[in-house]
Subunit: 270 residues, 2 copies
């Protein structure tokens, strides 16, 4: 099944655009609990309220030798009807990108992956060739440093365009399999709105709600298409660590349900 | 010890600017040999002829659950007096970059790492804060796709500069600990020369020799400083797979020695 179709089905099933980031932080998890057990309980508790999960590979690499195994077992816990996006931000020359693509999209069998555009098309092609997967290209990120390069004015096809706009434009040109999306942070609403209007058919993976300060109402209004779709709203810490100690899973379920409902409240048509 | 000092000592010890890329490819390695055993023999055979090793993390992720362990044991095989650079091309928002930096520079204890600039300063800061490590920022890469974004003309401080030039300039501004370097491909000699003249004190990590077509003589002339230093010349397939079958290690030793000597032949003062 194509990524967009799976995303739609998952979103309809749980009436949700919410994507929970599984970022297990040993300092915030219940004392003595393994990352794998934490993830398992979080997934069980939140699965009814989400369209999928985002797995940030850095947190698993930081777990050392067990990291990849925990990552791979975590992926197996996620119900098959929900989407799993590997937040990898990879991008390397051909051969190497091929190795990353195989590891993430074959080995782990994730439904989607985030990739970094700096090295250009041939660095992304090995990912894009997985026609049924969702390939999310970093476009405008939610952090302060996004102004350093993404907001540079460039000359592109005779016009002045910001670098992130060039990235979005090239992404749409490379989208022959309809499997490309953009990562657009929730902290820059004007730009989010412009991007949505320019690229009505691309799915947007939207981090930056919550801890990073993105406004939920504006994000939903600006980031979804006219049917209230094609936005994947990421949240991590606000869900995972909503309550501490033994009530963490119950806390996560409540926080996910609340956020799902708040998102739906703001969706234009739903 | 600071990275630049360690690089200098390693380079002097073996009279070498050569950095062998440890990219174990099951399809090219001797049949039935494990990646770990392959790396161990390659390191033993080539250690006298190199300043260090570059480890491309993608190849280890592609090995699945054992990948991280093989990576970590490979790092332990590398003689402590040589440098180990993790070719990771990471770059993520603060918390996540912190996790990557810890995994690569603490856990694996690599001497250097490659990072991707697209997310800007705060995505690189957690790496840069490791003051004794070498942080190599992707600037101008050796692949075709480098023209897609790196060669865009931008407006920067009132001047027209290519994006890769802006990256180089910001990198030099962020270099308060003298631990930053640039990744500059060997396939674009004019630009390599200009960058070396503009940034005489930054170490350059230079891939693209050999399979990718970079010219060795021009690369050494353009990429080293007036003392014939500060260039780390990467080679992988041409060394690792110089001979097939049981003679692979001997073949790698000969290829590394030849390349070390060819590099030295072209160094301006040596």
């Amino acid at each position: 099944m194509k990524f967009l179709e799976k995303l739609k089905q998952a979103g309809n099933r749980n009436k949700s655009l919410l994507c929970v980031g599984l970022d297990p932080d040993p300092k915030l998890m219940p004392v003595g609990m393994s990352a794998l057990e934490f993830n398992r309980e979080i997934i069980e508790a939140t699965a009814p309220f989400v369209c999928g999960y985002k797995i940030n590979l850095a947190f698993y690499e930081a777990l050392g030798k067990q990291g990849w195994e925990i990552l791979s077992e975590t992926c197996e816990f996620i119900p098959r009807e929900l989407i799993t996006i590997a937040d990898a931000k990879r991008g390397d020359i051909g051969n190497t990108s091929k190795a990353y693509a195989r590891a993430i999209l074959d080995e782990l069998d994730c439904d989607g992956v985030t990739v970094s555009p700096y090295l250009g098309y041939d660095s992304l092609e090995p990912f894009i060739e997985y026609q049924d997967k969702g390939i999310f290209i970093l476009c405008l990120t939610s952090n302060q440093g996004s102004t350093d390069f993404q907001m540079l004015k460039t000359e592109y096809l005779g016009q002045k365009r910001f670098l992130y706009e060039v990235v979005a434009d090239k992404a749409s040109l490379w989208n022959r399999y309809e499997n490309i999306g953009l990562v657009v942070g929730a902290t820059q609403q004007e730009e989010l709105k412009k991007l949505r209007l320019s690229y009505p058919k691309l799915p947007f993976l939207i981090p930056g709600i919550g801890a990073q300060g993105g406004d939920l109402k504006a994000t939903i209004e600006n980031g979804t298409n006219p049917n209230g779709e094609l936005a994947i709203i990421c949240a991590s810490r606000g869900i995972l660590y909503a309550r501490s100690g033994s009530e963490f899973a119950q806390g996560a379920a409540e926080a996910a349900e609340q956020m799902r409902d708040a998102i739906n409240h703001y969706r234009k048509r739903f």
